[in-house]
């Protein structure tokens, strides 16, 4: 990740205008009850993947969402784009209420909001070539009538992701490309509609470390040069801190802490954030305390613990944590945390 220098992070983005506003977003996946359970009138149970998340993303910003596997960050990303229907809550994109749109209106909005998926091996139909993969959004949106018309758009998108010369890649199939190339194609596909907002769902987790930097730099450049807003979802705090302007940390469907990257990384307030930072591998043999992570396993999101969701694993938990759920409160101007003891 050496390509991303520290100075680049400390840039000033015109953070003012909110492009995406998420209010109390909830997504439950109901579990199927057996006949016996239905007859016994057992309550319907659900996986509480996202359980009341609120935040906003500002125009041109790179907003990171960090959390371990199963914390609901991917579900949240998809629910924001309404690839999954939210159980409750509201998503507003500029002044459009995404959660209230009809199918037809949603289709129009798709030109402005795109997504890059985690697995570049899975996210492309193996039966289509690069040309058709990138042209697909254009054709679906009716922006081109035939594949010939799409070529200038595709070539531009390929140049944007630094795959040059574009002609060399146009008619290749995904299995003929490397992982990094595939992910560039995925980015190109997301870019071809010229969107203002892109959800990047763990775009580098499946890639070799050597290629990660290239993709992250690409995102950074797009953000800087074209003003594309990114919601960067990752489990890797290290990559997030390199490119993101602000970071939110999620645990079991809840947001536990959010704030500007520097403040959050240098002065983590929530014990979970501290644990995450502690788990980041630093190649320094003299460093002590590495690997001191939280005890136990992540509890099931079907039955999250009462009170603060972290309390069974938290090193500083007290009785109040078992009963009262902490609210997200401001620590300083932009830094917010949901912990009873973080501020004391």
């Amino acid at each position: 990740m050496g390509a991303v220098s520290a100075t680049e992070q400390e840039r000033s983005v015109g953070h003012g205008e909110v492009i995406l506003d998420v209010e109390n977003l909830v997504k439950y996946f109901p579990l199927r009850r057996g006949i016996g359970q239905s007859l016994r009138r057992e309550p319907e149970r659900a996986v509480k993947a996202v359980d009341g998340v609120s935040f906003n993303v500002k125009k041109g910003e790179l907003f990171g969402v960090v959390g371990e596997s199963g914390c609901g960050k991917t579900t949240m990303g998809r629910t924001i784009l309404r690839l999954l229907e939210p159980t409750a809550g509201r998503v507003t994109f500029e002044d459009i209420e995404v959660t209230a749109l009809s199918v037809e209106q949603l289709k129009q909005l798709r030109t402005r909001m795109q997504i890059i998926f985690q697995d570049p091996y899975e996210s492309m139909n193996p039966r289509l070539d690069v040309h058709r993969i990138i042209a697909e959004p254009l054709r679906i949106q009716g922006m081109v009538s035939n594949s010939k018309d799409a070529i200038p758009y595709i070539e531009k998108a390929l140049e944007d992701v630094e795959m040059t010369p574009p002609e060399e890649y146009l008619y290749r199939y995904p299995h003929e490309l490397s992982g990094g190339q595939r992910q560039r194609i995925a980015v190109a596909r997301a870019l071809v509609l010229n969107p203002e907002f892109i959800v990047a769902d763990e775009p580098v987790s499946m890639l070799d470390v050597s290629i990660r930097g290239e993709i992250l730099n690409l995102m950074l450049n797009l953000s800087r040069e074209r003003g594309v807003t990114f919601l960067y979802i990752t489990h890797d705090l290290a990559t997030a801190r390199h490119i993101c302007d602000r970071i939110a940390v999620m645990y079991l469907g809840k947001m536990v802490e959010k704030g500007p990257t520097d403040s959050l990384v240098k002065h983590p307030l929530h014990p979970y954030t501290r644990a995450l930072i502690g788990a980041v591998f630093v190649p320094d043999p003299k460093r002590k305390g590495f690997g001191k992570v939280l005890k136990g396993e992540v509890p099931s999101p079907v039955d999250p613990p009462s009170g603060c969701r972290l309390h069974p694993r938290c090193p500083i938990a007290q009785d109040i944590c078992k009963e009262v759920e902490p609210e997200l409160v401001s620590a300083d101007d932009n830094h917010m945390v949901a912990c009873h003891f973080a501020l004391g």
Binding site: R78, Q108, T111, E122, S123, M124, R127, I140, L193
Partner: protein
């Protein structure tokens, strides 16, 4: 990468490269190519068409039996001659002659007798009375005898026959007799048919058949005797004699005889003999290929298309549609196919396309289930979500992303469904529920069973359609299994 293997597209050249290395697949393909060739070039492979009957005697044996089995050494092959004015020879003519005429495009033999010159014979006044008394004593019969020589060099046939139409144009005082006689090489004459009329006569059919009871009585035989072997008992030249006798009236008497057809059905015929109607079995077998292949292919294509559509829609949309269609599938799968096909076939009527539709209607469920299960996994794939994120509709996703990915699975299934469609059609035809107007293998077997091939052990009637069905089905099974092995390695154990 490995997890994607079964869904990764195989290009046509790669597929062929793999296919050609499988010996069974190649055997199956060659057999099918032969069948397709036969079906396409059927008219060039046989001189007859499948609707022609009376080409030979009932259950005639193949012609090559003559050189193989001593019993058939000189078995008769079919003799069929059309006798028109050019063929008939006038062997005797007094007071008449043979004239060739053309009526409505057909040549007609006309025997023309000159009128009696009444002026000379019958004087005026009372002499007429005298004349009437004398008239029967001296009948001045005019005779015209037409003959035709049939060389016959076989063992005695089972039947023979002659058919023609005739009519008479004459004054009412005339009298006409017609007679048909066969003269053997030894000079013995068999008088087989005769009629006499006065005056004009409208068109009459003459159907002389050796199996006819009146003919047997005329020859003094009992109903259990067979005239044909007696008449054609030796080899040599037989003469057919058609004699017209007339006592002419005032006007000229004209006897019209349309083209006559003389027919001795052969006991050996063609490559595979003849059926109970004297139709050529080789022709039926050849044309049966067409029907079987087209029924097999179209029924398989229709059922697989329906199954794929239902499977994709159910799997992708899920919910109530899915539940309902899957229960329909369950019900249809639970119904025993053949009995319901028999009932529906009887109700809906016997046309080939009815049969195709019926077979397809009860063959799509397996495909639907297979495709549905595959769709259930495909719809969760990320590329589907990716298309949706670009605003793709359900129809678009189903057509562009799901369909191409289930096709390999479906393709092998379709090839394997062809033989079962062919067999079902054959079963229905064998049970008499096929289209009676077209020759199919099942129909051949049905006729063989119903018209005595089993009792006479006419294996040349039974075995070829059976083998044809067997080899074609086997070939498609070979191909289907090979395709399955290449396209769907996961299903290798099942096939």
């Amino acid at each position: 990468m490995s997890k994607n293997k079964t869904q990764t597209g195989i290009s046509a050249p790669t597929f062929w490269e793999q296919y050609r290395r499988k010996p069974l697949g190649m055997v199956g393909l060659s057999i099918v190519i032969v069948y397709v060739f036969v079906a396409i070039f059927a008219p060039f492979l046989t001189p007859y068409n499948p609707k022609q009957i009376l080409l030979a005697d009932r259950i005639a044996a193949p012609i090559w039996f003559r050189s193989v089995l001593p019993k058939y050494d000189d078995a008769p092959s079919t003799i069929r001659t059309t006798l028109g004015p050019d063929e008939w020879a006038v062997s005797e003519a007094t007071g008449g002659r043979l004239v060739a005429e053309e009526l409505e495009g057909a040549a007609v033999s006309v025997i023309e007798f000159e009128p009696v010159l009444k002026d000379e014979v019958i004087p005026e006044g009372e002499a007429a009375l005298l004349e009437i008394e004398e008239y029967p004593k001296e009948p001045e019969k005019s005779v015209v005898e037409l003959s035709y020589v049939v060389p016959y060099s076989y063992s005695p046939p089972k039947t023979f026959g002659l058919t023609f139409n005739y009519w008479v144009d004459a004054s009412s005082d005339s009298k006409t007799e017609l007679e048909f006689v066969i003269e053997t090489p030894e000079g013995k004459q068999y008088n087989l048919w005769g009629k006499s009329y006065s005056g004009t006569l409208g068109s009459q059919p003459a159907r002389i058949d050796s199996r006819d009871l009146t003919l047997k009585q005329r020859l003094g035989l009992t109903i259990f005797d067979d005239p044909a072997p007696r008449v054609f008992s030796s080899k040599g030249d037989y003469r057919l004699l058609l004699t017209a006798r007339s006592i002419p009236g005032e006007e000229p008497t004209r006897v019209y005889i349309s083209n006559a057809e003389f027919y001795i059905p052969g006991n050996v015929h063609g490559l595979l003999g003849a059926d109970h109607m004297g139709a050529d079995l080789w022709t039926q077998l050849i044309y049966g290929t067409r029907i079987s292949l087209s029924i097999g292919l179209s029924a398989a294509a229709i059922s697989v298309a329906v199954g794929t559509a239902v499977g994709i829609i159910c799997g992708y949309l899920g919910g109530v549609v899915d539940e309902f269609m899957m229960r329909v599938v369950d019900v249809l799968m639970a119904i025993p196919t053949l009995p319901i096909l028999i009932i529906l076939g009887a109700i809906l009527g016997k046309s080939v396309w009815n049969i195709v539709l019926l077979i397809s209607a009860f063959a799509w469920m397996g495909t639907a289930r297979l495709v549905r299960s595959q769709t259930l996994s495909l719809r969760e794939r990320v590329f589907v979500e990716s298309a949706k994120a670009s605003g793709a509709s359900d129809a678009y996703v189903m057509l562009v992303h799901i369909l191409p990915n289930v096709l390999p699975l479906v393709f092998a299934g379709m090839v394997l469904r062809i033989p079962s469609a062919i067999l079902t059609e054959a079963s229905l035809s064998f049970l008499g529920l096929g289209d009676p107007r077209v020759a199919t293998w099942g129909r051949m077997l049905h006729n063989a069973r119903g018209f005595g091939a089993f009792t006479t052990l006419a294996w040349w009637w039974l075995v070829p359609p059976g083998l044809a069905i067997t080899f074609l089905s086997l070939a498609f099974v070979f191909i289907g299994n090979t395709v399955n092995e290449i396209l769907n390695p996961r299903y290798r154990e099942r096939s």
